[in-house]
Amino acid sequence: MAEKLIETNDLLEVKNLKKYFPIKGGFLKKTIGHVKAVEDVSFTIKKGETLGIVGESGCGKSTTGRTLLRLLEKTDGEVYYDGREIYGLPKDEMIKLRTKMQIVFQDPYSSLNPRKTVSQICGEALVEHGLAKKGKEVNEIVSDVIQKCGLAPYHIRRYPHEFSGGQRQRIGIARALALNPEFIVCDEPVSALDVSIQSQVINLLMDLQEEMGLTYLFISHDLSVVKHISDRIGVMYLGSLVELAPKDDLYAEPLHPYTQALLSAIPIADPTYKKKRIILKGDIPSPANPPLGCRFHTRCPYAMDKCKTEVPEFKEAKPGHFVACHLV
């Protein structure tokens, strides 16, 4: 198998991205606070690369993915795609750019319209963007792309309920691929699937990347899946990126205490393997009222006084290995 081609130039650059959701309350539905879902996240993705984002529920990984596609509007920060700030683009330019950036969703059951056929689901965007004419032309493209995803041409006339979970996820991937995109956000694409189906979909995503030169942002809570598919991995906690490193460095030598705890918490499928497990105390704090200073200090086994007041800088500890911690 050919080595994956990763180019040196950045396809996507995210700078200090912030996304707050207002909390409405009271009789007049005034804004009484904000859920700080994404707080100051910066990273870059090179062309042809897979960047994995891991974190627990509510850490803002999905919101990050959606905000950089402009499916949600940002609160602050900049997102550059191929050198252009996407939030500064006029409407018609943005619509054109949408064909380049696609998303695959987590739940293959609720993300497909049950009243539309596969051809309509995957072909809608083609017609909308004027890339193909309704009817024969669209059907040809869709039947091509679903074959790439491991389905058969006769499936285009079928409805989502006629497919299994794994097949539905293949339709979701085909929908994203139909427009011939460059960049795909995969938002927990295998989490809802059984293990044996999971591996089929992961292999499919990796094959497609090689074949079409795709760039992925792969969001997942499953550390072993992320390790398998990604080139570099970012770890998020409560809206912030705490560590970002090439995958082998991250797993061999995690620098942030949260990453260390997260890695040690994974159950290993080997009953003879004895390891030291770092058990974190308590739960993730509410993002509406995050702790001051380092957001992890309430659960961190090494927390110092400094951590309670000062936000640690996200800095390069080793070449390519970024971490936000006062200890490093």
Partner: protein, 327 residues
């Protein structure tokens, strides 16, 4: 009596409009007192139906236990009356469910929900039940147990709700705890807390646990003995160390290989081709043969028996029929 629970040829079928779904079709296993038995399989393999059958909670209609025996301390639960079952449920056999969000009643306090079972089974009065409640919440590691007992489920986080469920299940000192995917809905760091808690409580209380999960990692950490299920039947049974060291059934092998490992650097994952068969149209012969890379002619014709290999191992596969399999 050696076994706490003995399930013999259990068959639970669902009678639907489209036909009969044999969700559990001839399951056998034994569980010793204080042992942890892991039941592994993918969605639809019948692992959850097996557990609700033991508690006789199969929704009827459409489901019904159509055959077999469930011997709990020698007593056949299949033939037990409803009132006998009521005194067993919660008291001798307790269950915790996958969804800590939906398995607690939102309009009653945590304390009220836990004391309900204590008052019913242990015949304690309200005050004593509440004391026992606080004691249980402390045992499962809920901070401020005295106040938490008067709080409502929405004031608890996911991990705390699962702790409360465990407290409720263990409040009457059951001999058997059925845990149906107890950590699946939880985050990794919270999952680690709950696994440690369950291991710790098992040591303290010597409760036998039936752990149902799809996660091989959780099984490796907690179980003593494992059964692997596929399409309503047991395909392999072994001690946990033997199973992970040397899986024999092609399905078990496939399952283990298809999970990406943390230390492996394989470029491609091994996959089990195809998908789980439609339960309304099970393939003839071995249910796994359409997905099996070793399938032979006989696999398409006849269902293999669950044969014994050595002391603690059973395999249902024609490949292993020759190698010293004995009935």
């Amino acid at each position: 009596m050696k076994y706490l629970l003995e399930v013999k040829n259990l068959q639970t079928h669902f009678f639907t409009e489209d036909g009969i779904v044999p969700a559990v079709d001839g399951v056998d296993f034994e569980l010793e007192p204080g042992q942890t038995l892991g039941i592994v399989g993918e969605s639809g393999c019948g692992k959850s139906v097996t557990s609700v059958s033991i508690l006789r909670l199969v929704p009827n209609p459409p489901g019904r236990i159509v055959g077999g025996e469930i011997l709990f301390e020698g007593k056949d639960l299949v033939k037990a009356t409803e009132s006998e079952m009521q005194s067993i449920r919660g008291n001798d056999i307790a269950m915790i469910f996958q969804e800590p969000m939906t398995s607690l009643n939102p309009v009653f306090t945590i304390g009220k929900q836990i004391s309900e079972a204590i008052m019913l089974h242990q015949k304690l009065d309200k005050k004593a039940a509440k004391e026992r409640c606080v004691q249980m919440l402390k045992l499962v590691g809920i901070p401020r147990a005295e106040q938490a007992v008067d709080e409502y489920p929405h004031q608890f986080s996911g991990g705390m709700r699962q702790r409360a469920m465990i407290a409720m299940a263990l409040s009457c000192n059951p001999k058997l705890l059925i845990a149906d995917e107890p950590t699946t809905a939880l985050d990794v760091t919270i999952q680690a807390q709950i696994i440690e808690l369950m291991k710790d409580l098992k040591e303290k209380l010597n409760t036998a646990i039936m752990l149902i999960t799809h996660d091989l990692g959780v099984v490796a950490e907690m179980a003593d003995h494992v059964i692997v299920m596929y399409a309503g039947r047991v395909v392999e049974e072994a001690d946990v160390i033997d199973l992970f060291k040397d899986p024999k059934h092609p399905y078990t092998i496939g399952l283990m290989k298809s999970k990406p490992s943390l230390d492996g650097n394989a470029k491609r994952l091994d996959v089990i081709p195809g998908a789980v068969p439609n339960p309304l149209a099970m393939p003839k012969g071995c249910a796994f043969h359409p997905r099996c890379s070793h399938a032979m002619d006989i696999c398409k014709e006849k269902m293999p028996e669950l044969n014994k290999f050595g002391d603690n191992r059973k395999i249902r596969c024609w490949l292993h029929e020759k190698e010293g399999g004995e009935k």
